[in-house]
Amino acid sequence: MLQLERRPVDSSLMRWASPVLALVLTVITGFILFLAMGKDPVEGLRFFFITPISDLIGLAELGLKMAPLLLCAAGLTVCYRARIWNIGAEGHFLMGALGASAVAVQFVDADAFWVLPLVLLTGVLAGVLWAAIAAGLKTHLHCNEILTTIMLNYIALNFLLYAVHGPLKDPYGFGFPQSVMFGDSALLPALIPGTRLHIGLAFGLLAAVAVWVMFARSFIGFQLNVIGQDHRAADFAGFSARRLTWFAFLVGGATAGLAGASEVTGPIGQLVPQVSPGYGYTAIIVVFLGRMHALGIIAASALLALTFLGGEMLQIAMNMPKAVTGLFQGLLLFYLLTCDALIHYRVRFKRRAREANVMTPTTAAREA
């Protein structure tokens, strides 16, 4: 029988091998899934993982999907390192998109350099304010942040739906719930001419590097790490949990808000109800897969951006439901958590009881 045995020291090799192993297991499961559905598995996996990024346009689309994931994940990394389980990136994102759109539609005809910064700033501010609600509820009213941020996500979604059906609705939009198209001065410049890839990806990369520098160099990064690893030690050191909680939430709100603003001013160019295919939730997987490390999340966001593209590709090419994206994402997180057990434990085949008894002292000695 398989048995888990506590490692004397956590395996640093497994810490980085586990995401790779999880990906391999996800691909194998995908293979079996395609077989079970009577589709060609090799072709299916090719459509999912390779076809979407086989040309420049495809790579640009990958960067396009990476941008919001990376921004949201950078903020969540700050929260999760401090063990603040903020699930609210989706809500921050939606409010950022809503705030940015509310300003952008005021300046459709304006031709001024300050329009875009103003629009983006409003998005950031909206995200920050939305996150501040959850921060205040946690620090002053002791509410569980998981539940409050989830509820705030649903509330934000309803706000957005209200806006596109009501005050922000394009009167000449043939009844579609969407805002007017933004003016050119409110649109993000393209990063690669001829593609849809915009400067939002640069924001994301910058945010990831900033988070990396923060944890590697700054005192507040150190404090966040300590409070996440040992709450009591942080108390003894006199670090203010309240201040750090606010900091983490506000950073999370700012980056996700910017992501929302970049999305409406980037590829979409207007506010629509389906502005997010769940970027805020997928960003949670990005953070775990990227080992809560700023450089890790860059790779992880590329992989999860690919699941969005791959899902769309399968929908078009093989007539599969779009939900295959969520399925692969869920599987990946599942396998990751399972493989993570190998960081702390090693798998042993349990022999017969007598032999196990003989083995015990040696292992004990080694561990001692």
């Binding site: 009213l141 002791h142 539940l147 309803n158």
Partner: protein, 306 residues
């Protein structure tokens, strides 16, 4: 009077899925395991119940399939959270993300199909009681199941040896283990019960509440149920009250529209979530009291030390 009765009856119906899923989570949390995957298990229950009922023509088969799907999902979680001692928050989130994806995947071909769902069955004599009779005893069979389940859970926790074991494991797994109780086994059973109830709650949505399948049809009810358990301070009686309170909040927009109060539906649809936050605020006000009621080992992984 007629309208009040209608509103109360609709409140009970809207509260029933919350009550079912929250009862499962209550047992689970009493064993010390926090399963944030309720939403995912409910969605799987909803889709499995709907597909099974549609293809077999039997609602009962649908219910069994829904509960089996919930239990199966909960075992994924149990393996990670109990056997592998993984972070319960992360494992629960994984379960929800996975369940949301898988249910949409499985149900993609069934969107738009409809089914003859559970209908009301009036209980003789009891349903003749003025007002309350129609509210409580002229409902679909699953509402009665939820009454029985609530009473059963209350009785189990307070009056049986099994309930004592459950509480011991949730409060102090080390002491329970030292007394020869199988902590991991008890926790697996609690998690499985939670999964079954979440599956049943999902089936209530797709077989009784709105007899059809739509993506994400739980609309956050799994999360609200988690807040409900905190609201109820882990007691089944208060859970019943809380479920109907939230049920009332979720039909409030229908009531207001009925009264000719013309507010945008999107703003009214926020109400249950706003109410949930307000409830959390009221209940978490005094952190000492919450700590006093919370099962001591809640959310902490446990591995027997021998």
């Amino acid at each position: 009077m007629e309208m009040l009765t209608n509103i109360l009856a609709a409140t009970v119906v809207a509260g029933t899925p919350l009550l079912l899923v929250a009862l499962g989570e209550l047992i689970c949390e009493r064993s010390g395991i926090l399963n944030l995957g309720q939403e995912g298990m409910m969605l799987m229950g909803a889709v499995a119940g709907f597909v099974a009922a549609l293809s077999s023509g039997s609602l009962l088969v649908g219910l069994v399939a829904a509960m089996a799907a919930g239990v199966a999902m909960s075992m994924f979680f149990g393996f990670m959270a109990i056997t592998l001692a993984a972070n319960q928050y992360a494992a629960g989130l994984a379960l929800t993300i996975f369940g949301t994806g898988l249910s949409a995947f499985v149900g993609a071909g069934f969107v738009g199909e409809s089914i003859d769902g559970f209908t009301r069955v009036a209980i003789p004599v009891l349903s003749d009681i003025p007002v309350l009779g129609r509210v409580l005893f002229d409902q679909d069979p699953l509402v009665y199941v939820s009454f029985v389940a609530c009473a059963g859970v209350a009785f189990f926790i307070r009056r049986t040896r099994g309930g004592l074991v459950l509480r011991a494991v949730g409060e102090d797994p080390d002491a329970a283990n030292a007394n020869g109780l199988k902590v991991q086994a008890v926790r697996y059973m609690a998690v499985a019960f939670g999964g079954g109830m979440a599956g049943l709650a999902g089936a209530y949505l797709s077989l009784a509440y709105t007899p059809m399948w739509t993506e994400n049809m739980t609309a956050g009810r799994g999360w609200i149920a988690l807040a409900l358990v905190v609201f109820a301070t882990w007691r089944p009686g208060r859970l019943l009250l809380g479920a109907y309170l939230f049920g009332a909040a979720s039909i409030l927009h229908l009531v207001l529209q009925g009264l000719g109060w013309n507010s945008p539906t999107e703003l009214l649809a926020m109400l249950p979530y706003v109410v949930t936050i307000l409830m959390l605020v009221l209940l978490s006000w005094d952190p000492a009291r919450t700590r006093l009621n919370t099962p001591l080992s809640l959310g902490q992984p446990y591995r027997p030390s021998h």
